[in-house]
Amino acid sequence: MKQSVTVNKTQDLKLANAAKAGLSKLKIKTPKFDLKTLAKKFAVPFISILLFIGLWHMGARALYNVEADYKIQKALADQGQVAADAMAACIASGDISCQPNTLPSPVQVWESFNTLIADHKVISADKLAFKEKTAALNEKRVAEGKAPITYTGRPSFVDQIFTSLKTVFAGFVLAFLIAVPIGILIGLSETLRNSFNWLIQIFKPVSPVVWLLLVFMIVKTMTKDSNSDSAFIISFISVGLCAMWATLVNTAMGVSSVDKDYINVAKVLKLGPLQKVFKVILPSSLPLIFTGLRITLSVAWMVLIAIELLAQSPGLGSFVWEEFQNGANDSNSKIIVAMFIIGIIGFLLDRIMLTIQNMVSFNKNATT
């Protein structure tokens, strides 16, 4: 073992020297080909994915069998042996009309995913055709001062994703605009902090559903006479209100706990209040503010699904709910597809925030 390590080291050294000599002008980072790190980086996660899919498949199989047995037994009890045999044959043949409705297997989910993509392509083509067809007419209508005709067909799964992203982004911006300034003000003044603390502590744990209802009460009245998209307004405001607390608390904490040394430096240099805030306090609390913003974004994405589901606003949430209500043969696997998409998008959003955080903040150690 020891020997192999030393051999590896000398080889590495040789390789490094050769690389230095040969590529010094090109300045190319020589890729380190090391089986061990390669295995650690790719093989282990790959195995864990296989394991996950395997377990899922087996679990789905078992549930499927339970459900199928139950169906056959029921047929036997209700209608007799002939019906039971027919049911068993029907299930074995894979006919859509009699499939047991339970947790879908990985293969089914993959198929549904492809179905949804194909569906999206069809709808996109439809939209394009519609646009081409109405282009001339719309031009005429606009010239006449009338509203152009828009596509009102069913949105595809991908459209739903973008609708959800739009809602969560609007909610996040709202949370940012409310929480960061208030957080800074509260953080700067201990009096304000003490007097607003009860409010934060009481409203922080309130459930998204209640926020939605509260926003609904207000927005419903305020948008009475306008023809704006009230479902969208309600859902993005609710998302913002649910999600802003983490940013508010973190900003206030970051601003109030700036290193005393920095404050002393600001005092000795007699920086003005604005300079003190923008040159000393804000940069030093940026890591905590960003931690808050990251939590806010992930909370926003999480509550969005529930809120869309309740507010009847289009998006992934309503997609999931409609599929559940639909109860079609592939509804369950479509729901699982949506689950994965939601998870992956949530993960990507967090990565984006982390990248931005590392770009703007002096604290380069922020991870996961």
């Binding site: 290193d259 040394d261 002393n264 000795v268 240099l269 007699k270 300079q275 940069p283 002096f362 604290n363």
Partner: protein, 275 residues
């Protein structure tokens, strides 16, 4: 020569021992009280100290005797409980750039470059100078502390010693009347400490800013100072003794170490501390 021959100037509690037009910093009957649940804790009491223009004073004393408290009171960062502090006869009102501070930790803004850190103070003190002039001032002092290649390095990319160099540049660049140093080299290894002492004294020789420096290091106290002030142990700490260091300036470390008086000064200080 015997120890008694060294000219020791006692600072009397009631009288002023210097002509007033030469005094830069005047601490009169200074008192600091921290209220505690068990009653008041008096850190400093009846503390009188006069520091002359262009004088370099080092302060030694046991840990926790109130040296840092005194220094932060002079800086205006810590409120005065009794007595007063005056700079050139004017009582101080809070902190201000006429008293530059070099803190124990470098206290640089880690999100700013070395140059920006120095500029932060320069912009404040010379608001009417052009941007280029202010840049030149900041660059001049960074050059003086030997950081020519590191202007644009972020503060948290610099080593501890280099950060403290920026701290020194920042303090001198605002051209204060009094420079306050709170054990600025306490956190450095002895080699770096020696380097920074040389840099500090080199700039000081040029600028001749009145300096008050707290240190735990007897050799550092003697090497840098015109006068070493010894503080009694707290509570109710005050000035215990003062020792004039009569070496010529500019000094080199070698000359100081080889001087006959050096060990007498050293013995005097150590005797006081061990007392």
């Amino acid at each position: 020569m015997v120890v008694e021959d060294i000219k020791v100037k006692e600072t009397h509690e009631n009288g002023i021992s210097f002509p007033s037009d030469k005094i830069m910093l005047d601490l009169r009957d200074l008192k600091k009280v921290y209220p505690t649940p068990k009653g008041d804790y008096v850190v400093l009491e009846h503390l009188n100290l006069q520091i002359l223009k262009e004088e370099f004073v080092t302060i030694i004393g046991h840990s926790g005797c109130g040296k840092t408290t005194m220094l932060s009171m002079i800086a205006g960062l810590n409120p005065i409980s009794g007595g007063n502090i005056a700079v050139l006869g004017n009582p101080i009102k809070g902190p201000g750039p006429d008293r530059g501070v070099i803190f124990q930790s470098p206290s640089l803004m880690p999100w700013m470059s070395a140059l920006q850190n120095v500029m932060l103070g320069v912009n404040r003190v010379f608001p009417h100078a052009s941007k280029a002039q202010r840049r030149d001032i900041a660059k001049y002092y960074l050059h003086k502390v030997g950081l020519d290649g590191a202007f644009d390095k972020k503060a948290n990319e610099l080593s501890q010693g280099m950060q403290q160099r920026v701290g020194i540049a920042r303090a001198f660049a605002i051209k204060p009347k009094v420079l306050l140093l709170d054990e600025p080299f306490g956190m450095l290894d002895s080699l770096t400490r020696g380097e920074l002492q040389d840099i500090l004294i080199e700039i000081w020789n040029k600028e001749k800013i009145t300096a008050v420096m707290i240190t735990h290091d007897v050799d550092e106290a003697i090497f840098l100072a015109d006068r070493v002030i010894m503080m009694t142990s707290g509570p109710r700490a005050k000035i215990g003794d003062a020792l004039e260091i009569n070496f010529n300036r500019p000094r080199t470390r070698k000359e100081v170490l080889e001087h006959d008086d050096y060990y007498k000064y050293r013995k005097h200080l150590i005797d006081f501390l061990e007392h």
